[in-house]
Symmetry: C2
């Protein structure tokens, strides 16, 4: 039995529904697989055209040489090639898949600001692929858990590759504390702050997401090959816009940064030199209306200059954070803002006092901790924590366990 | 020949002018000397009454037992005592004097926000002497230079007594760089950050001002006796609201903090623990509409927690600074704002580009430095600095010397 050709698959996709049971049709997925190899991501023109005619028609037009001028120019001779089936199979062999917008697990809510920017954002700054705000055509994902649930409560932790011991200590600590509190750390897997944040999450037994600038079957940097494997084994994900085997070309890191900012509720910069990539990611986050959080450091450290620059930008809206509780306080509230009020059921959380919210945010998801520990993380008096905990328990928001207080499991979803 | 009695001096003061040749009448000065010993400073009620009836009538009423109830309660049995002449002589013996609002050297412009707050600020928060915003009745000053000129371009640098090596390094550096650029560092002379900032200014051969919570003939802490002497010898000043011999009672430090904030254009906090005195001074500065500038530090340092708290206060208006150029940029512009636009002659500075201003602010007043050094301080490229320096020289703002660039001396004042 031979596999269907690309043309056959595309034909089928045009005839049938886009998705069945929350999973995109095979032809649609194959069309998007073809597109991830045919065109470098980050082009607003290409994305708009695909969005307008649909991915299947777009691929057919490109292959037939009848696509719009700009789209043809971007794809060039790759229009005549097809590795879509090979890419999908290569992904499968390393435990990966292509997640597409027609899948239920597509992180549509998180990526919504990118979609809005590409749709309605005008053309200012959108012609440069390294700064354009445009959603991915699809995301290659390695690891089992669904992408949307994994990044629903996520924060990007990024920073310098040439980090200091101070920065790495802070990044590990943030990664661990965010992980303990049920937040997913998203980063770029690079040397320095990125990998320290991933390692912190791993140490807390929490999922973490690496957004790569190369194929998810490759490790870049190669020295992080073992860490990436442990991340996948621990329920985390490797994510990339590029198909399996793609090389980490220099410009791809800049294009990739918008995905780190785009998947998360906010970006924490731990250490950054002046004019650095971490600053660029933070500005992408700001451009998307997401929180920009910055960890300060000694003013004598070159690795904190970029952080302090972000905090000094008059209209920057960057917020200084010193620990995980402050990060959660900032992204938690933004999360509430992002969800349209009408669609949000009234939550017991709504009526909470400031202290109660902070204590709640300080609660770990797994092993319960003492009220004293919660108070330390929440930055309040232990007595204040003890005063609000009974009310939080009555509202089914926290649970008392043998080792202390932890978050109550969320109510089951419908369906 | 015997000295005139207090009553004789007061009588004379009522008959003659308040000041002659910019110097307050002897009786007026003696009345204010009496008041600095009779009543603890910081009372808005007392200040308003003195402002209304004048210091001479106030002293006469207090001594005659016919002052308003509140004023009498504040002064108590001290109404029957008089050490005014002894205090003035004791001050003279240690090279000090009492500067009063009727003197030309009274820093009226700097203290203006305190005066406005005491006049029109309402009574909210004004009943507690440790937080009230009220001008001093007079200031005991040890050291030769006029008080107003010394604090005209001044910045408070305050912080923790239990400072770290990092904080002290930053404070010394700030003190030296501000001093080099013609700015006076004002602080409290305490252990840790305060004295480090004073020492930095001394090292730059620049005047610095210690605002004490005891008499200017005493050294508190005693270990700083030699530093205080060097400060006076180097053209700096010791300043206090309390008369010679007064002891540094605990509550006086809090009352004193408003003078540190009040004399300066802005307050820089270098290190501060949570809920610390340095934070209190910063909040006093903010209450006066002066700049609150904060040096961040490692989030792992308890001595930076208070700094980060200030930077995180949502309505705090505190600004992060990392070096002297950023401090000067912030307080320089505030200075321009404080002076009424109509009264300000058009200055060649007005039309300068951002880079040119920063380079100008980086210029030392004494020994010229290289364009490279200026660029490093201004935070710009050496080439950019070299591009703006000729224009600054043409505008008579900078001078080229044997060792490099420095500020040009200001044009002579009228009169």
């Amino acid at each position: 039995m031979t596999a269907p050709t690309l043309d056959e698959d595309l034909e089928d996709a045009l005839a049938g529904p886009a998705a069945v049971g929350g999973v995109a049709a095979a032809g649609l997925r194959r069309a998007r697989a073809w597109l991830t190899r045919a065109a470098e991501p980050g082009s607003v023109d290409l994305w708009r055209w695909i969005d307008e005619v649909g991915p299947v028609a777009a691929v057919r037009a490109l292959r037939a040489g009848v696509a719009p001028e700009k789209a043809r120019a971007l794809v060039g001779p790759r229009a005549g090639e097809d590795a879509s089936l090979a890419d999908l199979r290569r992904a499968e062999r390393c435990g990966a898949r292509l997640v597409v917008p027609e899948d239920d697990e597509w992180p549509a809510l998180a990526l919504h600001p990118l979609t809005v920017a590409a749709h309605d954002g005008g053309d200012a700054g959108q012609s440069d692929r390294t700064t354009a705000l445009v959603p991915p055509v699809g995301l290659w994902v390695r690891g089992d858990p669904p992408l949307d649930a994994t990044v629903d409560r996520s924060v990007a932790v990024v920073g310098a590759r040439a980090s200091t011991a101070y920065g790495e200590h802070v990044a590990v600590d943030l990664g661990a504390q965010l992980g303990e509190r049920g937040w997913t750390v998203v980063s770029g897997g690079a040397y320095g702050i990125d990998v320290a944040a991933h390692r912190g999450a791993l140490a807390a037994g929490a999922p973490t997401v690496v957004v790569l600038a190369c194929g998810v079957d490759r490790a870049y940097p190669a020295a992080h090959s073992a860490v990436f494997s442990r991340i996948v084994d621990a329920g985390g994900l490797l994510v990339s816009e590029w198909p399996p085997g793609a090389a980490p070309h220099r410009h791809r890191f800049l294009v990739r940064n918008r995905i780190i900012a785009g998947l998360t509720r906010g970006t924490v910069v731990v250490e950054a030199a002046a004019r650095s990539g971490a600053q660029a990611t933070a500005r992408r986050a700001r451009g998307l209306g997401k929180q920009v959080l910055v960890v300060p450091g000694p003013v004598t450290s070159a690795m904190s200059v970029g952080c302090h620059e972000l905090l000094r930008e008059p209209e920057g809206g960057a917020q200084l954070v010193g620990n995980a509780a402050q990060v959660i306080e900032a992204v938690g509230s933004l999360g509430d803002d992002l969800v349209a009020p009408a669609a949000r059921p009234a939550s017991p959380r709504d009526g909470l006092s400031d202290i109660a919210r902070r204590v709640l945010d300080a609660c770990p998801v797994r092993t319960g901790v003492s009220a004293e520990r919660l108070a330390a993380v929440a930055g309040c008096d232990p007595l204040e924590a003890l005063r609000v905990l009974p009310a939080l328990e009555l509202a089914d928001l926290v649970q008392r366990t043998g080792t202390g207080w932890r978050l109550a499991p969320p109510p089951r979803k419908r369906g």
